[in-house]
């Protein structure tokens, strides 16, 4: 399927970015390159725009946290060049002690919009430069943490009883964000009491 050889993009990256390219390896025939957090946006932009690389297609963005708590969390970009039929996996290692933050690639690939939101939702990694970084699969007021982190138990942090209680206590009318309610002045048509609750930021929380 894929050759076992190292992708020629990696030596080219090393020549261009030097120390920002941390290390590389080949696993199961896939070439993987680690780049520094500070330069990741530059590297990805270069990979997209350089004529010899042309990685014009962002297949996927995800993150990996290992079972070993010492190992850094990794943000993973699967890139593909449609014209060259080549793949490359770019990783950014984020030290658990430091900020979990990588510059958004939304400006390079619009496909990153929901993918970065999902990584934020599931891992708590933030992407400065993303225009609308909100939770996507979990609801906006979800307060148990980031489900795909290893410290997050399979059944969640809250007990089943607590989860049920919160679900039943939520305001069913509060499923619009304030921004959405500002459309058509719908916000001002709401009863005064509800307006006040929404302004307090109470949306689906306990009464």
């Amino acid at each position: 399927m894929n050759g076992t050889a190292l992708s020629p993009s990696i030596p080219a990256l090393r020549a261009e970015f030097g120390a920002a390219v941390e290390r590389h390896l080949v696993s199961c025939g896939d070439s993987i390159v680690y780049v520094s957090r500070e330069r990741s946006h530059d590297v990805l932009a270069w990979l997209r725009d350089t004529a010899s690389e042309r990685f014009d297609y962002l297949t996927d963005i995800t993150a990996v946290e290992y079972r070993d708590p010492e190992r850094p969390l990794e943000v993973v970009y699967q890139l593909r060049s449609l014209p060259r039929k080549a793949d490359l996996r770019v990783k950014v290692a984020l030290d658990q002690a430091g900020p979990l933050e990588v510059r958004s690639v939304w400006d390079l690939w619009r496909g990153a919009d929901w993918l970065e939101r999902e990584v934020y939702d599931m891992f708590g990694v933030t992407f400065p430069g993303h225009p609308d970084l909100r939770r996507i699969l979990m609801w906006e007021t979800y307060s148990e943490g980031y489900p795909l982190r290893k410290a997050f138990p399979l059944r969640g942090h809250f007990s089943r009883a607590e989860q049920t209680r919160q679900a039943l206590a939520g305001n069913p009318e509060a499923h619009y964000s304030l921004e959405e309610l500002s459309i058509a002045d719908a916000f001002h048509e709401l009863p005064a009491e509800m307006r006040e609750r929404l302004q307090r930021g109470e949306r689906g929380y306990l009464r």
Binding site: M1, C28, D60, T62, G111, W114, L137, L154, I183
Partner: protein
């Protein structure tokens, strides 16, 4: 479009003096005074879903309208979130296969194949020739049933009921075959790492042969009723257009990408399961609108039928060949040997108790699913459970382009555009 000049002048239709029903023409009249102040100038908020048949599952759209024109579309997903990726981290590799059934539940067999192949890539296993042919059959049958659901439901969304019945009748025949092979209609769990759960039963080949013989007739009927139909063309041509650059930039895949004129099909560009040895064409659109997406999917079904015919010919040559690899790390020894031979018993015990153990490493494997490129990214640390099982969900990524396509469209077009994306919420929300 702040003022609507056409107003329905329809009053309650009644009977005239002779008792004949009166028909009032749709009048083109002056907008009533105050109309603009009432409706036109103000933006309106419309909530669509999550419980709405035209959103194809629990998708919720919040729309900002100016008159009938969509200014902004804000999708809300996650109502069907089941945490499959998290669950996968607590299961053996073969135990993940039932989870894949439940993501894109309109093409479960193709998902099963993708997972088995991803683990095989991780372990460096190549499945047997007969297994490859059977997996191709599974993938192409999935493509056909998934596209048939798309065709039927999109037809209903746009007001055509009959093709829905035709396509579901055909789909039922595939489901019968699927049931015959796997014992289940929906949750097939067909594959295992290194092979298949079962070989095809007696009578399956004949049933599939009969299906491939008669199925194109139904497709031709659909072609007759849709392709040159004025209403269909009016509702779909030039609606929800994405250019090739936009489609690539939005990471679209599958028919959505190809309808925009990007010639990318995983089966051709990174062949797996020996797809390079089959003779089939990949339809590519040029306008990137709903109509082209329809044409692409319709033609894909014809092409899948061609692949199925070729696969059946190969099956005849491979009768009696093994479906599982000869590798005790992943395939259970025969029961008779496990009960009599010490070594076989140990392998049996280790696999049942500990599960399949790929070496530490990671692999991404993408296949051409009906909805687009389905990718499974597995990270292993050498234990029997993955550190990370990432699903690259084609419908989730395709759906992310919905706000872009809906900008400036009419409210009624939102339904058509959403249908053309071909989403399945089980996969969008996972």
């Amino acid at each position: 479009m702040t003022l609507r000049t056409v107003e329905m002048g329809l009053a309650t239709p009644g009977l005239d003096r002779e008792g004949r029903p009166t028909r009032l023409p749709l009048g083109v009249g002056e907008a009533s005074p105050g109309y603009a102040e009432d409706f036109g100038a103000e933006h309106m908020l419309v909530n669509l879903g999550p419980q709405h048949p035209a959103t194809h599952g629990v998708l919720r759209l919040v729309l900002e309208l100016e008159g009938e024109v969509v200014k902004r579309c804000i999708p809300h997903v996650g109502y069907l979130h089941s945490g499959f990726e998290k669950l996968g981290e607590y299961r053996h590799y073969n135990q993940i296969i039932p989870l894949t059934d439940r993501t894109d539940y309109l093409s479960p067999m193709a998902n099963n194949v993708c997972l088995a192949m991803a683990v095989e890539k991780l372990m460096g296993i190549e499945c047997t020739e007969r297994c490859q042919v059977l997996r191709v059959i599974a993938c192409e049958l999935s493509r056909i049933i998934s596209h048939l659901v798309w065709l039927g439901t999109t037809g209903i969304d746009l007001g055509a009921y009959t093709p829905f019945l035709w396509s579901f009748q055909e789909r039922e025949r595939v489901y019968n075959l699927q049931e015959m092979w796997t014992g289940a209609r929906l949750t097939t769990s067909l594959t295992r790492v290194g092979g298949l759960m079962a070989d095809i039963p007696d009578g399956f080949e004949e049933g599939l042969r009969e299906f491939t013989r008669t199925f194109p007739d139904t497709l031709r009927e659909v072609d007759t009723i849709f392709t040159r139909n004025a209403i269909w063309i009016g509702r779909t041509q030039g609606v929800g257009v994405l250019t090739a650059e936009e489609a690539t930039n939005y990471s679209l895949s599958g028919p959505m990408l190809r309808a925009s004129g990007v010639d990318y099909d995983v089966r051709k560009d990174r062949p797996y399961l020996g797809y390079q040895t089959y003779d089939f064409d990949v339809p590519v659109g040029e306008h990137g609108d709903i109509y082209d997406r329809y044409r692409v999917r319709l033609e894909e079904m014809f092409q899948s039928n061609r692949i199925l015919e070729q696969a059946l010919d190969r099956l005849a040559r491979l009768r009696g060949a093994p479906i599982n690899v000869d590798d005790p790390r992943v395939i259970l020894p025969p029961k008779s040997r496990a009960m009599s031979d010490m070594e076989a018993m140990i392998y049996h015990f280790k696999q049942v108790m500990e599960g399949v153990k790929p070496p530490a490493g990671e692999a991404y494997l993408g296949i051409e699913n009906p909805k687009g490129e389905l990718g499974y990214y597995l990270v292993s640390d050498g234990t029997a459970k993955p550190v990370r099982w990432r699903i690259r969900p084609p419908s989730f990524i395709n759906l992310a382009s919905l706000p872009k396509m809906c900008e400036g469209a009419l409210l009624s077009d939102v339904i058509a555009i959403n249908a053309s994306v071909d989403i399945v919420m089980g996969e969008v929300d996972r």
